[in-house]
Amino acid sequence: MAFSTSVLTMNLEAEAERICGEIRRVVGQVLKRRGVIVALSGGIDSSCVAALCTRALGKDRVFGLHMPERDSSSETLSLSTSISDTFGFESTVEILTPILDGLRCYERRDDAIREVFPDFDAKTWKSKIVLGGVGQGYNAYSVVVETPSGEIKRQRLPLKAYLQVVAATNFKQRTRKMLEYFHGDRLHYAVTGTPNRLEYDQGFFVKGGDGLADIKPIAHLYKTQVYAMAEHLGVPQDICNRAPTTDTYSLPQGQDEFYFSLPYPQMDACLWGKNHGVPAAEVAAALSLTTEQVEWVYKDIDQKRSTTRYLHLSPQLCQEVSEITH
């Protein structure tokens, strides 16, 4: 039978029940915590995790955090609040901007952007980082700026500047996680991580930031499946209909232009196809792509796995400590 994207269809109710059983077992018996912290971004993944945790543990054992900062979209807070309102769990707002100012997050990032755009001024210009598209060889990142007059300019970032932009913006994810663990420690709750399978597999997370968690309930679900699960669990339509965004830079930035080489439905299909040994030509036919494009994506998946392997590694020891097992 020809390959089709229907391979991602699943029995949502059965899978929701199975995940909820795992959440109860892991939080209670493995982690020995009394509930969970969920950082709510207003996106589909954290909303889906919040919905699953509420179903698994009850609304009184879920605590939500809304953590906008200067570059967050204006709709972030209302969307994330709609999740805590819909599912009825307690939550609080932690504004990150003063903390990030204290860390000189924005200043350090803007210094790096000025290496390629010397006139860049974050007060009047907007910026984002984008990735080269399918079939363009190695992944090289460019900075895109919008000047006060509305002109869009794009320039490849030298490695040092790119690394500094990423290092500075990673403060955002790490500051969020620090606050999640504050509330987790305070309430004796476990901290959730909300990556979907694409993000988890391809290393689209910050080590010690959104990658740090005690439990990651949807790391095995393809993004398409997360959307379906969220809808099944009653996540508001505004969130289910929203395109994935990083919500990290002042210009709107889709996840596919920052990290994934294709929009997520196509990336999901390629990743599933690669994982199940489906020839690139069959996946290409189902997605209206060329075989060469899918072959390139297959290679890119391997390359990202290799480049981001270190993100998944626990601290490496120089000699085993046999009394401590993971």
Partner: protein, 88 residues
């Protein structure tokens, strides 16, 4: 323009890799034709580090469309690329 031979470029690139990626362990130096992607010694960030090094050392500028495995995926490919860029 000062020309560069493939041999000189290979030596410089190998020395850079040994110094920066292997912390001086020359025994693990890659064979000239060994693919970085296949051996996993140098990942895509590492390739960009090498590009930065070459741009500085040889005064060349590498365009987005030149960031391909054909140009960059082994010591030999890199050396040949440098020679071409230097008009060799």
């Amino acid at each position: 323009m000062v020309r560069v031979t493939a041999e000189e470029a290979q030596q410089a690139i190998t020395a850079f890799i040994v110094e920066n990626f292997l912390f001086g362990n020359a025994k693990e130096a890659p064979a000239p034709a060994a693919s970085f992607l296949e051996t996993g010694l140098v990942d895509s960030t590492g390739v960009l580090e090498i590009v930065s090094f070459l741009e500085g050392k040889y005064g060349i500028s590498v365009g987005d469309d030149e960031l391909t495995p054909q140009n960059l995926d082994s010591v030999a490919n890199l050396a040949a690329f440098v020679v071409r860029k230097k008009g060799g």
